[in-house]
Amino acid sequence: MVESVLDVLSRVPDPEIPVVSVVDLGIVREVRDDAVVITPTYSGCPATLAIEAGIRAALDASGHGDMKIETVLSPPWTTDWISEEGRAKLHAYGIAPPSRSQVVCPRCASTDTEEISRFGSTPCKALHRCRACGEPFDLFKCH
């Protein structure tokens, strides 16, 4: 039961970065027999409502209409919860995955990169530029 629900959820895309799922991002914290427990990324992320609606629709469509969705704030979401698979998908999509050491250009893999702005197109991203290939790119911020 829990496995089949997780399988359903692993196909629910993040509305802002549809290449990764809500499971990849660590938004799904727990699947119980009667409920899916989720946590918001940033307090003000506008995708939060869309994520809940996406999960609701996926549960309903897969015969899990009785399952509730619970939201918890604690412990606070961290990018450490993004799965290895999620990180690989972000990189392939052109978004540098969060890194506590080197930021790697998702286009040419150079580490010669610089920050343009710590605030980007969504709360979770910062704008960077690669000095090697010259391309600007998004970095998923460590959080």
Binding site: P40, Y42, S43, G44, V72, S74, S117, G120, P123, L127
Partner: protein, 237 residues
């Protein structure tokens, strides 16, 4: 000691009103990056406000949710500090307000994250990660403007000057925030020193926001923020 409801309302109103103020910059900031940054900071604050006001509504137990508290209260019922309702002014004035507020909010959220009330501490623990970015952003701009051209320096000094009389209210002993003052003073002095600016001289404090005594500015802000719910009560997307 303030009740959990009072506490959550204050924190929620601070974040809501400053978030609304910052949203006024969207499309008007001096550079695209600044536009994005101020919008993102505003978004974080409005998200925090949603959590705090939801908690306040649950604590009150009269069926008011975050939207009801944000959109269906009038000026006298708001408990935000006067600092956050001050008009944006020029970019330096906005940065001065953000600098003073975010440094205070980061200390406050750190304290709340460790507080005994679990519902409050969960919001604080989430917020502190976001606010650390805001404080760093505003502090960097204070240095850039203060240590920049004659013009940018003069504007930064004027911005700090215009906001300084609202600082004391942040540390009102009635809110239990007085203990944060030494750490805040040290942070502010460090950044101003790096910006080669002087710490503004103490001046007569203007207070009253926590009791609902607001400046005229708040009413105008609410007029715009609450327009839709006033014109079409209960409307949803």
């Amino acid at each position: 000691m303030a009740s959990l409801f009072d506490h959550a309302i204050r924190l929620g109103d601070d974040a809501l009103i400053l978030g609304q103020r910052l949203s006024e910059w969207a499309g008007h900031a001096p550079m695209l990056e600044i536009d994005l940054a101020l919008s993102n900071i505003g978004l974080d604050l409005i998200g925090q406000a949603t959590h705090f006001l939801k908690l306040a509504g649950e604590e009150e137990g009269k069926g008011r949710d975050a939207d009801a508290l944000a959109f269906r209260r009038d000026v006298l019922d708001f408990r935000n500090c006067l600092l956050v309702e001050q008009p944006n002014g020029d970019f330096a004035q906005t940065i001065a307000r953000q600098f003073l507020f975010s440094n205070w909010q980061e200390l406050l959220m750190t304290e709340i994250a460790a507080a005994p009330a679990p519902a409050l501490s969960a919001i604080g623990a989430k917020a502190v990660k976001e606010v650390a970015y805001h404080a760093r952003y505003a502090s960097e701009w204070v240095v850039r403007l203060g240590d920049g051209t004659e013009e940018s320096r003069a504007r930064m000094v004027a911005g700090l000057d215009s906001m300084w009389r609202f600082v004391d209210e942040l540390f009102d002993p009635a809110d239990g925030a007085a203990s944060l003052r030494p750490a805040w003073d040290a942070r502010i002095a460090d950044t101003l020193h790096a910006a080669s600016l002087d710490v503004p001289k103490p001046r007569r404090a203007v207070t009253g926001g926590r009791r609902g005594h607001h400046s005229e500015h708040l009413g105008h802000l609410l007029t715009e923020m609450q327009f839709l719910q006033r014109a079409y009560p209960g409307v949803t997307w």
